[in-house]
Structure formats: structure tokens, C-alpha cells
Amino acid sequence: MTPAGQQPAANRRLILRLVMLVFAMFGFGFALVPLYDVFCDITGLNGKTGVTDSRTVEGTPIDNERRITVEFTGNAANGLPWEFRPTVAKMEVRPGALARTTYIARNISNQTVVGRAIPSVTPGEAAAHFKKTECFCFTEQYLDAGETKEMTVQFVVEPDIPRGVNTITLSYAFFNAEKYVERQTVKMKHQDTKFEKTHADKKSQHRG
């Protein structure tokens, strides 16, 4: 439909636009990674948990009416020669109140191993209301040969958690992180990691 004389110019314009679209969509593929994270944080998709600091928690009212059962579980993934388990199987918490528990890890190999714990909470609608103020999953954990370590997690279940939820499961999968600590280019996309620094800062301020 383009008059014959103008065709090359019209083609060039259209090709340019289409090529830009191709690159934009290639970029969009990568942009889906942070978008997905944001989406997960909002909806609790995949049981991604949030982080808060203890000062905020002190400011929230405690719901004395409700009791939520929090179950703990954990496993050391393939490739990590550790034993890893919670010290208690479950506890009852009041929404809004800080609670703490521990996990025990033992390195059963004969060398120092670095591990990283990935938390996951189910059901999904609870995940967005399950916040940690302190967790061994915020940093890598180093265990010497044969070393046993008790590790703390401190958390709060927010009072606005949906009514229907009465049991929450917090699960940690411990992975061998050797491949990821040596490289600075690692993309640590879990929110907990991003929080690590600011969290430490806030905590010291709070104490001061």
C-alpha cells in the first residue's frame, strides 16, 4: 500500500520499530525477575517471607484473642553434609508478639562448609504476614568440621493475618553455598539478603 518510491524509507522505519520491540521484549524477560520478586512479596507466592525490625514489632498491638500454631521443619539439601533440624517441632504464638526459636546444625564432614538457609512459609496467604526480625538465614553460615551450632530465628505473625489461618509452617532448606560466596557477581534475590545490611544498621541504632 506504500507508494513505490517511499518504500525503502517506510521499511526502515518499521524495521527499526520492530527491532526495538524485540530488544524491549528481551529486556522484559529479564525484568520479569525483579517483577516476580515484587509480586511474590506482595502476594506471598512461593511462601516468601518478609522482614521487619523489632522496633516496628514493639509498636504493633498484640492480639490476645488468637493463637496461631507455628510449625518448624528443615532439611539439608543434596550436597550439604550437615544434620539440620529444629529444636522444637511447633509452638503457639499470639499475633503481634515476638517469638523466638532455634535450629541446630551439625557439620558431619571433615572440613569447613558454608551453607545458606532458604526460608519458605506455607500457606501462601500467611507468608506475607510472617515477618522475621532476626534469622540465621540472613547470612551464610560457616561450620567447621564436626561443629554443632544452635541458630536463632526471631519472628512475628502480624495481627492482620487472615482469620482462616491457624497453622503456619516455617521451613528452611539449607544449601551448600560454596559456589555462591566466592563470587561477587552472585545475584542474591531473596529479600532477606537485600535486607541484611539495612537490618544490621537499624538494629544497632535501636540498641544505641
Binding site: T73, N75, A77, N78, I108, I118, S120, T122, P123, S171
Partner: protein
Amino acid sequence: MLSSRMRTAAANVFSGIAIGLTADVAIAAWGVNLQPPVSPIGHDILELHNLILLICLIIFVVVFSFMFYSLYAHRKSKGHEAAQFTHSTKAEVVWTVIPFLILVGMAIPSTATLIKMEDTSKADLTVKITGYQWKWQYEYLDHGVGFYSTLSTPRAQIEGIAPKGEHYLLEVDKPLVIPTNKKVRFLLTANDVIHAWWIPQFGIKKDAIPGYINEMWTLVETPGTYRGQCAELCGRDHGFMPIVVEAKSPAEFDAWLASQKQGQAKDTVDAAKVWSKDELLAHGEKVYANCVACHGTDGKGVPGAFPAIAGSLVATGPVAAHVGVVMDGKTGTAMQAFKNQLSDLDIAAVVTYQRNALGNNTGDIVQPTQVSSVR
């Protein structure tokens, strides 16, 4: 409105007609519809499935009776002259709006069932399920009981050397046991790659994803043995990691649970005993079933993918290193850590077997105490 039983019956009849089988018996034998459900969700799904199948069949028959009538009546060979109409707004609006309304009608019961499925609250028992390449681990979190469940069909049946048993490929060494008429909640995760846990008769299926935890629930109404399979491609032996669940009455379940706690005490006794070489070899051959998938019955492995045990440096080198590989696995390879899956006796026996069979002849004997000392 049809009653649900009539709908079910009608849908069965339709699916029967669809393949020219009208007898119920024939349908059952050939398995043309979903397996008979034994849980409330299973019943809901079957009803939903039958309803939607029926609606689809009715629309299908109506639409294609028009087409086939046209194919018969509007043939050129019969001298039919072509009409030249090109559109009809009225008809087009009708066949956009009506399907939409039918879809809304389908969405209502679907949504109701889905909401029920997602409600995992107020469970009576929680079982954690972990998928491994290629087996399942079950843990009763509140009771400190846990075990692994692997395919028990003998290799000879798979390779066609022995006749296949009734439950070929759908049998395991230790089934999951759950109580009937109790809400059982399953927590799902995986150790290596994504697996999916599925029992068709319960109407539940969910992925087990490494690093993440998923949950679902069931309530089994009838005692019995229920079988399913891993439903997410998880590598070489994806087809060989079945799921077997035994539903027992609550009283029988409690008795079973107590016996499990005792059984774990027996393992401790076994571990303390000194075993003869023949005893270890006999037991080790059985335990070696855990290794066959990768290393092969003859221990020759798969060149390029899985190393041989026969004549390998590990199986003919220092005993401690061999035990270490079996217990802790080998990072970066498919060799997994068996320390949590196998007892001290199992590990001692399988190491002894590998060092004295499959073409190896080191003469070494490994005792369970040697294994427990390095735990």
C-alpha cells in the same frame, strides 16, 4: 437441573458411547474415567469432571450435527446451490454470549471446589513429604517417625526376565500410612529437583520443589491401599518412584505408629552387633537396590553419566573414604548422601557388598559400628 448422580451416570454413558463401550464392566476394566475417589475432594472433582465432560459432549454433538447435516444435505453432487450470505450479526452475538454464560456456569462449582481444596487449616496429622531422585521420604513431624519409600518391584520384572506382579511399578518397600477419616495435611518439598506427589484416588497432586514448601490435604474415607506416581519429570528414573499409601482405621494407625517408634530402637541394636561377612553380603545385595538406578545391576554404571563401581578407585581404595562417599554423597554429582536414608547396618552391608562383589574382591568387611563412629 439434573441430580449429581444422574449427571455422573449420564457422563459415564456418554464416555461409554464415545468409544463404543456401553457396559459398565468394560469401562471399569479398561479404566476410561478417573479412578474411584475416596476423599471428599476426590468426589467433588469427579463430579466436576463428569459435569464438564457432559456439557462439552452436548455442545460437541449439537455443533457437529449441524456440520454433518450440512456435509450430507448441502453437497454439490446432490445439486445444492451455494447461498451467498457472509455474516449474521444476530447469530454471531448469540454464539458469543451463550458460550460465555455456559462458562460462567462452569466456573461456579469449580471455584467452590478450589476454595475447599486450598483450606488446609485444622488438620489432625501433618506428614512432611520430601522428593528425592528417585524416592520419597515421609516424616510424621509430631511423632518423630520418618522413613524412605522406594520402588520394590524387582529389577528382573522390569527387564522382563521374571513375570510381572499385580502391582508392577506401583509397589514400595515402606508405604506411607495414614488414618482414615482424619484430616491429613501434607507438607511437600524436594531435595534435588522438582517432583510431584499424586494419588489419583485422593484427588490431590502438588509439586515438591527444592527450597520451597507446599501444602495440601486429604481425608480418606475408606481403609485400603492407594497407589500413585511421581507426576513431574525428575530425571532418569522418574517412572520408577511410585507412591503407596495405606489408610488404616485410627486405632490401627496408632498401633502402627507405636511399632514404628519401637522399630527405630531395633536399628540401634542391629548397629551394635558384629556381623559375619556372609550376613553382610546377603543384606548388602538387598541394599544395593538403592544404587542400581545409576550404577547398574552389574556395577558398571553408565559411561559418561554415572561412574562404575566395579574396579573403581573408591570401591577398591581406603574403606573410610568409601564409607564417606556413601554417607555424604559427592557434591556436584548425582551421588547423594545416604546417611539419613540408610541405617548403619545398611551402609556397612552395602559397602562390604560393593567391595566384595561386582567384580571387586578386596576382602574388606565393614561393621555397623565403623559406620556409627563416623556419623
